[in-house]
């Protein structure tokens, strides 16, 4: 049941059904005699190659309560990546050590590298107190200097980042970070930024803990006058390239391509993710700063082996034959579920349930800002969109394409969310072909001699809907069904299956009639409101020019109508409101207007994915949110996963 959790700067959220109480919570700040360590590390200490455990851990290390039980050391965890550009597959498993983190229910922000924090009443100042004595994976202390360096010297360096990442800039001005003492840093924003803690818990919030000063400073001109020569010697064209190669960034492959870069992660790179690699191996970080409730240093598991499969089918084969320990990425489509269920015994695994954070499985975005005036007029006609919406037989679509595992839905937060908006979610979802036909007649789209409708200007009503078959094969099937439903009310549509880059190019050029995409914002409506108003310059596909106007403060794009401008203003307001009740009320106004305007046509509620966990792998929550903002399985803390013999 929805459980409102109120905490500093945290929005209230629904607790995902069935997951309550299943959190692997950590309590920082408890004095603790940490004495357990992996046998291999104990041997290194004995040989004098590594300082003793007490010198590697903070005085008060963060204590993690294991999900099921205190684990045992050892083992190699096997997981799959796919081809190249799957760097986020590693990030999700290993790279989740930000200042704060999500709890398991995706409802509250919890301490991580910052053991506590204070937020000013106007939500412009955030003061973080770091855990004392945390060390980078090379043994060098992690302090406030590293955080200041990461933001002030790296992220705010305009040669490295021509624009400050969106999270760290408010009202067009980047954040200012200052050191109070060795373990205290203060972030000051130019305007209220009430969502900052939540943003900090997402992968894109990792910048403050990404760049170790003692290592990365050698790649900045400020600290190294010979940097250009070094870059030339390293065979790259500029120092910025050298910096990216050695220190990486949140979301680029080179983050995992350098074995010597110190990190704060539970495992560090042993065999790097580089071009042509067939696997990536990560090995335990001897300086990892968390312990379990019995005082054993985490992680339990020695190594992680990411095999790189070029093909999902061969990944599936590895899963079925028991060669993968935990996997949901790439195999989590519904079509694989029967195969994976049948082979549970043979592969000796159990199923993992993913709770979607998305709202909509398939959102149809008619281009209301179409370049062709006649098409624009048609798509901008609200009754045209409403008629098309009730002309879709959603139940048939759900039964055939989604095995009955969904319900008709338009947009907005999911039904379990406290901000759920009944009208916005359910309007125009009932199937009524006769009424749809009548509405189209009335809007001036009469049937021609061939049974298809004609626009008032005499042209046949015809448009194409772009979809990427390689990315979302189910959406192609869904659209094929919608096509037959629409042909029954006299609307001729073409399912336009195209390649991914072309899809984006068409969107960027505002050259599309309509496009489909899953609609986000089901559990995280504040983090991605692209369907509620023209927010996302690539994602709000019903009005890309309006989003450009919004993101460029009116410098580019096309001025949107009043109702959009009102929502943009409301959202800016909500974003800077620390009071949760007030924020919820503001968001409700946005949903009210969005429901009234009915810009996007949704098909059905996003369907949950699933994955597998080998039976001998324990401490893994079997129900997890599925989201980029909650980068599953990372926030369930793989460092406390353990193997039973």
């Amino acid at each position: 049941m929805p459980n409102e959790i109120l905490s500093r700067g945290v929005t209230r959220r629904a607790v995902l059904g069935g997951m309550a109480g299943a959190a692997a919570l950590s309590i920082a700040g408890r004095a603790f005699a940490a004495d357990g360590e992996a046998p291999a590390l104990a041997q290194l200490v004995k040989d004098g190659k590594l300082p003793p455990l007490a010198e590697r851990l903070p005085k008060k290390p963060m204590v993690v309560t294991p999900f099921e039980k205190v684990g045992t050391y050892g083992g190699t965890l096997r997981r799959g990546l796919r081809g190249s550009s799957d760097h986020n597959g590693i990030l999700r498993m290993v790279g989740n050590q930000s200042l704060v983190r999500w709890n398991l229910e995706f409802t509250a922000v919890q301490p991580n590298l910052a053991e506590r924090w204070e937020v000013s009443d106007d939500a412009t100042q955030f003061t973080f107190h770091l855990i004392e004595g945390v060390r980078w994976s090379d043994g060098h202390p992690f302090t406030a200097d590293d955080v200041v360096f990461a933001i002030e010297d790296c992220v705010k360096n305009t040669e490295l980042y021509s624009a400050t990442p969106a999270q760290l800039a408010v009202a067009g001005k980047p954040v200012t970070v200052e050191k109070i003492d060795d373990y205290t840093v203060k972030f000051t924003f130019a305007a209220p930024n009430a969502l900052y803690l939540e943003n900090l818990a997402t992968p894109l919030g990792q910048h403050p803990t990404l760049f170790p000063k003692h290592y990365c400073s050698q790649f900045l001109p400020k600290y190294n006058p010979n940097i250009e020569a070094d870059a030339k010697n390293a065979g790259v064209t500029s120092w910025t390239e050298l910096f990216r190669n050695r220190c990486g960034d949140i979301e680029i492959p080179t983050r995992w391509g350098n074995v010597v870069k110190p990190t704060l992660d539970p495992w560090v790179v042993k065999e790097p993710y580089v071009g042509g690699a067939t696997r990536v191996v990560m090995t335990r970080n001897p300086y990892f700063w968390q312990v379990d409730t019995a005082g054993n240093q985490l992680p339990y598991i020695d190594e992680i082996n990411f095999g790189i499969s070029q093909d999902v089918e061969s990944l599936m084969l590895n899963v079925i034959s028991g060669k993968i320990d935990i996997q949901e990425r790439h195999i989590s489509v519904l079509a694989n579920k029967p195969t994976l269920s049948q082979n549970m015994q043979k592969g000796d695994y159990r199923l993992l349930t993913l709770v979607p954070s998305a709202s909509q499985q398939c959102q149809i975005y008619f281009n209301i800002t179409h370049k062709d005036p006649a098409m624009r007029k048609m798509f901008a006609d609200k009754s045209f969109r409403q008629a098309l919406s009730i002309g879709i037989n959603r139940q048939e679509l759900i039964d055939i394409v989604y095995f009955g595992q969904s319900e008709p839905y338009q947009a907005g937060p999911r039904p379990t969310h406290p901000w759920y908006h009944e009208k916005y979610a359910r309007q125009f979802t009932e199937y009524d072909a006769d009424k749809a036909g009548a509405m189209l007649d009335q809007a001036g789209y009469k049937k021609g001699p061939d049974g298809f409708r004609v626009r008032p200007d005499g042209q046949k009503v015809f448009f194409s809907v772009d979809v990427i078959p390689t990315l979302y094969p189910d959406l192609v099937d869904a659209l094929e069904l919608v096509k037959t439903h629409w042909s029954q009310i006299g609307i001729d549509m073409k399912v336009n299956t195209i390649e991914r880059a072309l899809y984006y190019t068409r969107g960027d050029d505002n050259a599309h009639d309509a496009q489909v995409w899953p609609g986000p914002g089901g559990l995280d409506p504040m983090l991605d409101p692209r369907d509620f108003f023209a927010f996302h310059p690539q994602g709000s596909r019903y009005a890309i020019p309006w989003t450009l106007w919004y993101t460029s403060n009116g410098a580019r794009g096309e001025e949107p109508p009043e109702s959009q401008k009102k929502r943009m203003k409301l959202f800016d307001e909500a974003r800077s409101t620390a009071d949760l009740d007030k924020r919820g009320a503001t968001m409700k106004q946005i949903f009210d207007i969005a429901a009234e305007e009915f810009e996007t046509v949704g098909l059905c509620l996003a369907v949950g994915g699933f994955g597998i966990i080998r039976n001998n792998l324990r401490n893994v929550p079997e129900k997890q949110p599925d989201s980029w903002s909650w980068p599953n399985p990372g926030p369930s803390m793989p460092q406390q996963f353990t193997f039973t013999s």
């Binding site: 190249s84 910025t240 080179t254 391509g257 071009g275 067939t278």
Partner: protein
């Protein structure tokens, strides 16, 4: 002969230029560029890439230059410094990425070629000499089966059987302990113990068609008067076959060597992806999809160079083997 070879080598230079230019144009033809693809990948995980960052990336990669300038920069790098450029996706020099992959591709290609010929030649000769025998019918049936089954399907079925029924480690060309190990004798042995599965899969379809070609050629040659004459003069049946009809029937085999190399690389893309082989094909496909043009361009250029070398070899071999062909 030497003059011929020298001439051919000279001709290869303009051919390579033409081919590399065409390859570059073709890679650039699809809409968008590497940055578009990169943004698309990030946006799939809901990240917003602002227009400034995109413009900065384009500038960094030189994507704003006209295509001709990009091409000449690339070619000049190759000619002057042997520098094939940087892979956008990996931020690594292309030359680091391609050599090992190309070497493994050649090993796989040659192994497949040898396997194909070793199976196809004797069977082709046998089914021509014993035309309409039970053996001939058996091999003919096998031929059609081999041609009809797509190799990726065969790969999937064999992998499934091996992995699920026998618990074998399939996919890849190395055991885990050798995957990133330096080259050694043990690693070579490990490679060959993994090579047989892809070789069989790749050999099946080409074997089938080669058997048919061999059989038809032999059937053409066998009734010719010189065979009857030789037989009348008392030549043993085996020597008779080997001496002339086989040599002449080999002609199409040898003249297609040039196509074999590129065919084995492009024809094995799907199999290599399914079987997870660390050959050039999957990397080339990925580079093409990401519009990582220097990496893709380097692969295409190398494959073309191999084709040209292959056709030179086949011309030389033809001159040696077929008495009817003269170079002068």
């Amino acid at each position: 002969m030497l003059v011929f070879i020298a001439k051919r080598l000279l001709w290869m230079i303009p051919s390579l230029f033409a081919v590399s230019f065409l390859a570059f144009v073709l890679i650039q033809l699809p809409p968008g560029d590497y940055v578009t693809t990169y943004i698309a990948t990030l946006a799939a995980s809901n990240e917003i890439v602002d227009q400034n960052t995109a413009a900065q990336l384009r500038e960094r990669f030189g994507l704003d230059d006209p295509m001709l300038i990009q091409y000449f920069k690339w070619i000049w790098g190759i000619l002057s410094r042997g520098d094939f450029g940087i892979s956008f996706e990996w931020q690594q020099p292309v030359s680091d990425l391609i050599w090992e992959r190309m070497a493994l591709t050649l090993v796989l290609a040659l192994a497949t070629l040898i396997a194909t010929w070793a199976i196809a030649l004797p069977i082709g000769v046998y089914s021509a000499v014993r035309k309409y025998s039970i053996g001939d019918y058996f091999f003919t049936a096998f031929t059609f089966f081999g041609l009809a089954v797509p190799s990726f399907l065969l790969a999937l079925v064999l992998m499934y059987v091996a992995a699920v029924e026998f618990g074998q480690d399939v996919g890849g060309l190395f055991s885990p302990q050798y995957e990133n190990a330096p080259w050694s004798f043990a690693k070579m042995v490990d490679l060959f113990s993994h090579l047989w599965l892809p070789v069989i899969i790749l050999a099946v379809s080409s074997t089938a068609s080669l058997i048919r070609v061999m059989r038809a050629n032999m059937l053409d040659e066998l009734p010719k008067p010189y065979v009857t004459t030789a037989r009348a003069k008392g030549l043993s049946e085996f020597r008779l076959l080997m001496k002339y009809p086989l040599m002449i029937a080999l002609n199409p085999f040898i003249s297609t060597i040039a196509w074999l190399l590129p065919n084995l690389i492009s024809g094995s893309v799907v199999v290599a992806i399914v079987l997870n082989l660390p050959t050039a094909a999957p990397l080339l496909l990925q580079a093409l999809m990401a519009q990582d043009m220097y990496l893709a361009g380097a692969f295409v250029l190398l494959i073309c160079a191999l084709t040209l070398i292959g056709s030179l070899i086949s011309d030389i071999l033809l001159a040696l083997v077929d008495p009817r062909i003269r170079l002068e």
